[in-house]
């Protein structure tokens, strides 16, 4: 079940310098979130499953769908405010 969160989070990310033609492979080729902190807990990112870009005013927002193996998280990075947000969380119904 998908839950809207909309909270600022602390993220550890790698700003990569990929070779070749990276743009179509996903934005994680250049900006790769590796872990994030939410509600006092550290979540290591096991896989970035998808990424996309949107625009709000003059800001580019980079969205990453990531998983730690337990749940799927949608996090975003605003290139103007330099803020990371946890947008949504998906937890499999048991």
């Amino acid at each position: 079940m998908m839950t809207q969160i909309d909270e600022k989070i602390k993220v550890g990310a790698v700003f990569a310098c990929p070779e070749g033609r990276p743009a179509n492979r996903g934005y994680d080729q250049k900006l790769k979130p590796v872990w994030f902190f939410w509600s006092g807990k550290k979540y290591p990112i096991k896989e970035i499953t998808f990424s996309w870009k949107d625009r709000k005013g003059e800001s580019d927002l980079y969205f990453f769908s990531v998983t730690d193996g337990q749940a799927v998280y949608e996090i975003s990075y605003n290139d103007k405010s330099l803020v990371w947000m946890l947008e949504k969380v998906y937890v499999e119904a048991r």
Binding site: F50, W52, K56, G57, F63, V72, Y90, E92
Partner: protein, 393 residues
Amino acid sequence: MNAYFASIEQKCNPFLRGKPIVVTGEGRTVITTSSYEARKFGVKTAMTVPEARKLCPNLLIVIGNPAKYIDTTLRIHNILVELTDKIDAFSIDEFFVDVSDFPDPVAAAQKMKSRIKDEIGITCSVGIAPNKLLAKLASDMKKPDGLTIIKPEQVQDILAKLPIQELCGIGSKMTAHLNNMGVKTAKELGEMPLKRLKDAFGINGMHLKNMGLGIDYAPVHKYWEVEQAKSVGHSHTLPIDAWDLKVVHAYLLMLCEKVSVRLRKAGLVGRTVSLVVRFSDFNTFGKQKTVDSPIKLADEVFQVAQEILKHYYPFRQAVRLVGVSVSNISNDAGQEQLFDANRKKAQLAEALMKINDKYGEFTIKLASILVADHFGIKNRCALIGKYLLKKHA
């Protein structure tokens, strides 16, 4: 692309892979796309979720994200542009690519497919044929992940048994009309006397006959050779069907604002305003009005749209969707406003546009739109056109 929105959502979320899922709009129950797993149960686009659940009780619902799909389409376009510049975006998930100059079109198509799979992570079906009509037909023949070739010498055999509704551009109403005329297959359509088709369908008669013969002269343009827009429009499905005129007006004004911004950014004006209203019983009506002087500002478009809306009020059903477009387009000659009030209005509109460009659409908005805010505004139009592709290429 194959089950585009559903495929992207399954790529995003591993827990959805291999499961029957459907993508819907926010607050709505009409299915925009279903995954192949859902299709095995008979779940199709345009069904309602309750209908689909009867066929597939374990169905999972995902709310669509237009920004995600639009950006993915731009990335796919970038892949194609690296191979050729003769690309037509047919829809958010379909492209025509001219491979007639390629030494090996099949190898080129395979390269496109594998790059999309590798770089985006989803599959597509490709059709290779002598023209756009037949290429589209070929691409629909094998899904998912197909590559189908229709050679010139195969065309007549394929059209001989092809039901007319399989031809792109022939919908259910046209099919019913043609069936009543005794036309069931593409071959029968091609053999129909041109006069009969012109009598029944006017100027479209020739086009229909050509379709039946497998003929399509439409070229694939270079993606950067964008013809001027013939119209600029936006439509919106309300999160909840609305009886209240104030609510409908709020959405209409929002749409007029979006249309106005696009017109002004493109340096265009128009003289014809078209309004579309869909009611909760899915009956859809459209009317248009042409004004004497070209318009571009939101309140100018809204005034005309509001006039047209009066034809449908009081509503006999709740309103599900409204759409407004401006056509009869020409370049904005930048005519100076003669009256102070109009000049101030134009200056205010420009200032608002600059603020919203900087901070986001509808950061500043008219108070009347706040009603729509309460009900939920979708900031983006989910369909992209060649103009957006040109800008981002």
